[in-house]
């Protein structure tokens, strides 16, 4: 047998006793083959197997584990040792269970990598660190050299080891702290060399502790009542000993120098350690209760801490310095130097106020420092926090108003100039204090800007926004990759248009070039022959919204021989995505039919201008093309085309083309739609259907994918009128439509505004398993939507603005809605009202819903950023609930929408303020969420400031007379906005403010509301 075979036999069949002599006798030539075998056996044995039925575990026995570790120790080179799979566990187990064998093998191997390996593993996992006593023994026996970092990482766990040792005694000591301290006192190397390392390295010192308690018998507790946890704790109280206590005790007994420990704490606090570790050093310093003299002696170390990035360290330093800087021996110059760097740090507030308060007093004792102090105080005015600004302003006011002048003329001028520099940034409180030294505010001097919502929206139909069609086959080919990987509705529209336009220009054998994309869609086509691929593609049934795109690709690859799109399953009973998906399927099915029939006609609904507008002339041109080809338009395609057409940008050229249209019904419809007149549309009535027609329609609707496409244009025309009318006049009542059957359905004669109310639901939970049966009451504030029409379908699937009415997706967010909402909103760019109602009732009906709901909102909010008409009610409500959303990402995106909407004049500030006020009053969400957002929106532009002020004007009266929590944070920006915009505070707000004035916490901010300088317009 070779040595490798012997080794394998020993590992598999024998024990440690046989292995150790084998390892000790290995020659240099044996090392590499045994190493390879060791690794092979480790891989083989260290796998999870079924040990017995339904019981899984490692195939390796504990002894084999230790044996393989010793073999590794003997044969591994640095490369294998430093690999990821070689852990400290093996070392600990070997030392614990077979110490003699371990030391024998180690003595023989003497690996040079041992210390580096221990360090690597200790750094990688703070929970698996080699024990400090073992480390010392390795050092004493000469296996490793002293490495400060390695030893520093090991020291903290020493306490835990001692705790375990004391707990395992038959009678653990009642004075564990004294016993542990005494044990540590015996080890001079620890005290003099290794303990000080704790102050130099990032260790787990803060979490290490000794837990001393008599160990509970592990097997009897289920049978002997007195051994249950509660009784055991009473009978055997636990003791916890921390390093802070130990170090304190070592100082008391004279083993550690108190002065040295204080200095080391301050030096450690200079490091960029973890926050909990920094807190630990801070607490150790405080636990030593340094005297004023000791702190004065360490003034330089304390001042150095002011440069630390962590606020807790800076605040600690300021707190320690605040009594010291008035002492005669204190050197003020370094403090002023360091203070200059922290005055505008937004993360420092409390500490800065202390510092500024202290600095303001200094000139009285040290007049020579007055100019420097004044400049420091003036620099602090740039701080974002109004309270810090105010403290600084008060200090400056004291300096500038001193009876005995503290500043010379030059210093006075410099200080006043510095104050004036910061004037723009000053909040109302500081502005009030410094008013005598400030020039008149800019807001009062310039003309007041007033935000007004957009009254009439006209899309930009010009060459600037024109969408370039796909130029050639190559562009079409590579665009395919983009639409398969990105949710890009605009790119998809171009691709679809390119498919239709370039169908006759495709190169021969183009399908072969599509194969890479087929593989991306159907990866299992890899390795399949051409015939197999054809068969798989022909049989493939894709589903979901993205299945529509994939179906078109698969159809394209096979020359559109069959129609695939109508059979794509886009919606099932449990699918709560959106009913517009069905319309989109009809539209794409129409495109596929054109490709199948090779008509060469474009889709009517392809946008011509960004983002999704259709120029009226383009629509008419396409309709004329259809007439020339003798084809009737697809109703779903035409419905979307109407919703996308920029009717307000109609031109004489378009109207001239309209006259050429042969179809009378369409000509009449488009004449009204593109006309400038503000008249009510005359809806044509449907002729009653014969029985045969009705049966045929019913049967046709059962076919997959059939619906609108199956209806004739004449049948669809009244509903196309309804779509056009609701596109042009989203909020208007069409009283004369009463004669049309089905016109009473929401969204046709009247706009669809679902009924809803804010409802509070309470649920009571009783904890029966706890003594006293405590009750917990949960309150849920929800937007409760009630719809009378939930069981009644819309009269036609073409009614883009009515389909959501009976849709079952209410109070049920679904991930598919998030993935399609952006694409679907592109179908109805003029009027997103119904879609937004659907989003609100599905995913924002109450606070703190799940991530699925959040993601839908995150997908829906960008639709508010495009240019378009002023927000409707549902869009404003969507914005309001998003501004109050619990997810910061949602609030941030909502803020962007708000700012974007005020820049494009789409925002309705009064409606938004009202919704926000009602939601907050009902405690739908905490007020702080909104209040924290507002400072980011202030001072962006005069228009935005005015829009925000209008929003708050409408919001504040809606709030209850009893102030909500964090109301002050809302009133502060309001005061600032009023000052900036020069608006008068409306009477309704004045009334509410008067009620709040009785609250002490709000009085100050209400007093700071500046007097208006410009009268508000009567409107």
């Amino acid at each position: 047998m070779t040595k490798v075979e012997v080794f394998e036999q020993v590992i598999r069949q024998h024990g440690l006793a046989a292995l150790v002599p084998f390892l000790l006798e290995l020659t240099k030539e044996d090392i590499v083959p045994i190493r390879q075998k060791t690794r092979q056996l480790q891989r083989e044995l260290d796998r999870v197997v079924e040990i017995k039925p339904n019981s899984w575990g490692s195939a390796m026995t504990p002894e084999q584990d230790r044996m393989l570790f010793l073999a590794s120790l003997r044969t591994y080179s640095r490369k294998e040792a430093m690999a990821n799979q070689f852990f400290i566990w093996g070392l600990r187990n070997s030392v614990q269970h077979n110490p003699a064998a371990f030391w024998q093998v180690l003595e023989c191997a003497r690996p040079t990598w041992l210390a580096d390996w221990l360090l690597l593993r200790s750094e990688a996992n703070a929970w698996v660190i080699v024990e400090y006593p073992l480390l010392r023994e390795l050092e004493q026996r000469g296996f490793i050299e002293f490495q400060p970092r390695l030893f520093a990482l090991a020291v903290p766990s020493l306490l835990s080891n001692l705790g375990q040792e004391l707990s395992s005694q038959a009678a653990p000591p009642s004075n564990a702290l004294d016993v542990i301290t005494e044990r540590l006192r015996q080890d001079k190397t620890l005290l003099e060399r290794d303990l000080p390392l704790l102050f130099d390295f990032n260790t787990t010192l803060d979490g290490a502790q000794a837990h001393v308690q008599k160990a509970r018998p592990s097997h009897w507790h289920n049978f002997i009542p007195s051994f249950d946890w509660a009784q055991w704790h009473v009978q055997n109280p636990s003791q916890t000993v921390t390093w802070q206590q130990v170090l304190g005790r070592l100082v008391v007994v004279g083993e550690l120098d108190r002065a040295d420990l204080l200095t080391r704490c301050l030096l450690a606090l200079r490091r960029d350690f973890r926050r909990p570790l920094l807190t630990w050093f801070k607490e150790l310093f405080l636990s030593l209760k340094p005297t004023l003299t000791e702190r004065l002696a360490r003034q330089n170390d304390l001042v150095e801490l002011l440069a630390h990035p962590q606020p807790l360290v800076v605040n600690f330093a300021i707190e320690q310095l605040k009594n010291v800087w008035l002492e005669p021996g204190f050197n003020l110059a370094p403090l002023l130097l360091y203070a200059d760097n922290i005055l505008t740090r937004p993360d420092l507030k409390t500490g800065l106020k202390t510092l500024l308060g202290g600095l303001a007093k200094l000139p009285r004792q040290q007049p020579a420092q007055a100019p420097a102090v004044a400049l420091v105080l003036a620099a602090a005015l740039a701080h974002a926090d109004s309270a810090v600004q105010e403290r600084s302003a008060k200090g400056l006011a004291t300096l500038l108003q001193a009876k005995k002048p503290l500043l010379a003329a030059e210093a006075l001028a410099a200080t006043r100039a510095a104050i004036q520099d910061q004037a723009e940034l000053l909040a109302a409180p500081a502005r009030l204090v410094l008013a005598p030294w400030l020039t008149a505010p800019a807001a009062a001097t310039g003309p007041r800007v007033c935000y007004t919502p957009l009254a009439h929206f006209v899309p930009d139909i010009s060459s600037n926004t024109a969408i370039a069609p796909v130029a050639d086959w190559h562009e079409l080919l590579f665009l395919t990759g983009e639409i398969l990987h990105y949710d890009a509705p605009a790119a998809f529209e171009r691709w679809l248009d390119g498919l239709l336009r370039l169908q006759d220009q495709l190169p021969a054998g183009y399908a072969e070039q599509l194969r890479p994309y087929l593989l991306q869609v159907l990866p299992y086509l890899k390795g399949k022959s051409e015939t197999e691929t054809q068969a798989i593609v022909a049989e493939n049934h894709v589903s979901g919204y993205w299945g529509l795109v994939q179906a078109l690709l698969l159809g394209w690859a096979q020359g559109f021989r069959t129609l695939r799109v109508p059979s794509v399953l886009v919606q099932t009973d449990h699918d709560n995505s959106d009913p517009l998906v069905l319309v989109e399927r009809q539209r794409l099915a129409a495109a596929e039919w054109h490709l199948h029939a090779r008509t060469g006609l474009p889709l009517l609904s392809t946008p011509t201008h960004e983002p999704f507008w259709i120029a009226p002339s383009a629509l008419l041109q396409r309709l004329l093309q259809y007439e020339a080809a003798g084809q009737l338009p697809n109703a779903a395609d035409l419905s979307v085309a109407l919703a996308r057409t920029a009717y307000a940008a109609s031109s004489p050229e378009a109207l001239a083309m309209l006259a050429q249209l042969q179809h009378e019904g369409l000509r009449e419809l488009l004449g009204w739609f593109l006309g400038a007149e503000d008249t009510e549309p005359c809806l044509v009535s449907l002729a009653p259907k014969s029985l045969v027609q009705r049966v045929a329609t019913g049967l046709r609707s059962l076919l997959p994918g059939e619906g609108a496409a199956g209806s004739t244009l004449a049948e669809a025309l009244p509903w196309l009128w309804a779509v056009a009318a609701r596109t042009k006049f989203p909020d208007r009542e069409f009283a004369e439509w009463a004669t049309l059957p089905g016109a009473d359905y929401p969204g046709i004669r009247s706009p669809w505004v679902p009924a809803w109310e804010l409802k509070t639901e309470t649920t009571k939970h009783v904890a029966y398993w706890l003594s006293g049966n405590p009750e917990t009451i949960h309150r849920t504030i929800k937007l409760d939507f009630a719809s009378r029409y939930t069981s009644q379908d819309a009269p036609s699937p073409l009614l883009l603005y009515s389909l959501h009415v009976r849709f079952r997706g209410m109070a049920q967010g679904h991930w598919q809605l998030g993935s399609v909402v952006r694409s679907l909103s592109s179908l109805v760019p003029h009027n997103l009202s119904a879609l937004h109602w659907h989003v609100v009732r599905s995913v924002a009906w109450t606070d703190k819903l799940e991530s699925t709901e959040r993601d839908v909102l995150l997908a829906a909010l960008p639709t508010l950023l495009d240019e378009g008409p002023a927000f409707g009610e549902s869009t404003t409500l969507l914005l309001a609930v998003s501004l109050l959303h619990h997810a910061p990402s949602c609030r941030a995106l909502a803020l962007e929408s708000l700012l974007g909407a005020s820049a494009t004049s789409r925002l309705q500030p009064a409606a938004l303020g009202t919704w926000l006020g009602r939601l907050l009053a009902a405690e739908y969400a905490p007020l702080a969420r909104l209040a924290d957002l507002l400072p980011q929106a202030q001072a962006v532009s005069p228009e935005t400031d005015d829009a925000l002020a209008q929003t708050l004007d409408a919001l504040l009266p809606e709030l209850p007379a009893t102030p909500l929590r964090s109301l002050r944070k809302l009133l502060e920006p309001y005061a600032d906005l009023v000052a900036r915009t020069g608006r008068l505070v409306p009477a309704a707000v004045q009334g509410r403010l008067g009620e709040w004035r009785t609250t002490a916490a709000l009085k100050k901010v209400l007093d700071n509301l500046p007097a208006p300088t410009v009268a508000l317009e009567a409107a």
Binding site: D272, E304, Y338, T344, D347, H474, S889, A892, L893
Partner: protein, 451 residues
Amino acid sequence: MSETTFAYAQPSALTSGAEGQALQLAAYAENAPASSTACFFQGQLRDSWLTARGLTTLAKVVASRFVPQAAALRDPIVTAGAGQLRFEAFSSCNGVYARLDLWPAALDGEFVQSGTTNVDFNEPMVNALSRIARTEPVRLNVGQQEVTLERAAGKVTERKVTLPERWIKGLTAAQGYLAQMDEKLRLSRAQATQLLHALPAGTAKTDLYLMLRGPRPTFAPMGGPSAVLVGGAHRLRLLDGLLPLSQGARVYATPDGQASAVVLELGGGHEFLLALSAGVTRGFSGEGTQLGAMLDELPAEWLAGANNLFRGNETFNPTLFGLTHDLAPATVERLCASLSAMGLLGFDLSTNQYFYRRLPFKTDRILRLNPRLKNARTLLGNADDVQLVSIGSGGRTEARVRGTDAWHTVLVGGPEAPRCTCQWYSSHQGQRGVCKHVLAAQLRFETGQAA
């Protein structure tokens, strides 16, 4: 992974002497100087406290990681030359590149010779750096004579670290991005201080845009014309110790938003640059934006000549260099790409110049460190794997390139960007460098046309 092992003569240390403290940075140069002088700089730091803060932040970058992987501490690179010292480092995940530049105003000493070396950044030295007081005089010595003279002596402390090749790859991509960047924002001192305040708490899970909104720097989820796309913006927190000390900051970004950088003006000749990749999961070493420029194998003597020239000049502006030597911009770009592929060039945003790193001139690194280029050459090894289909107007060439189980259509040449039907191109749309199929087609047809 190929590695270079460093052997330091002794650990870096901050030592106290009669003349004050001395910061001795133990160095190991892969490209050791031929002369016996192994000292690059010795002298006084004019603002030792500020330098120490910069070095501490650099150490923090080196120790940081933003993807779940074990931290692997690497030692920063220092380049001495042209009267400057530049300390460069990457985060463990390679997605953050940081550089501390010490300009002549920050140094009072002698540049014994130019050179590039690794600097031993051990914990005690970081500890000591944090203890340098504001007005304390400190001498700086980069490299020591003893490094080369006494390596075999008993005092030698060998601390071996590995220099992964991804650092050199990262240096290539980082300088490529930096050279493309434009200044987008300029922040005042107060605005720089508030930069992190505007950052949302926790880890940024989506891309954020940095912009000035009114007087305040803001991070927003949607961008505008002047906004800077910052992927993994929470990585900017590495700057938290330096931002309050900065006199101002400049924010840069590439036109395609694939990388961004913040330059802190610390005053007194100190500048700190932090460049971020497009996302936390994207290390600079994985980017291939310079692959296109490396296609043409420039004659070895050109590379050697340029290397010698840049080695002597130490800094150069690519445009001026091209004009001076009558070289086409594309040729200069290829030269720079080839040299930077060996880690030899860096880019300084403040002066808009390349600077030279004295690393070994190893042309085999160009191929070895760019597997896509290597794979493209493998495709060319089989004559049938890259087939010409047609040459269109403006030199637009269509080719078929063999892929895994499919032939890819590739378009190269002409003024438009190259395209391919492969998964890589479809997923990244050319933003992370071209794929091997495009490279193969370019090598076969474009370089052939050029010849």
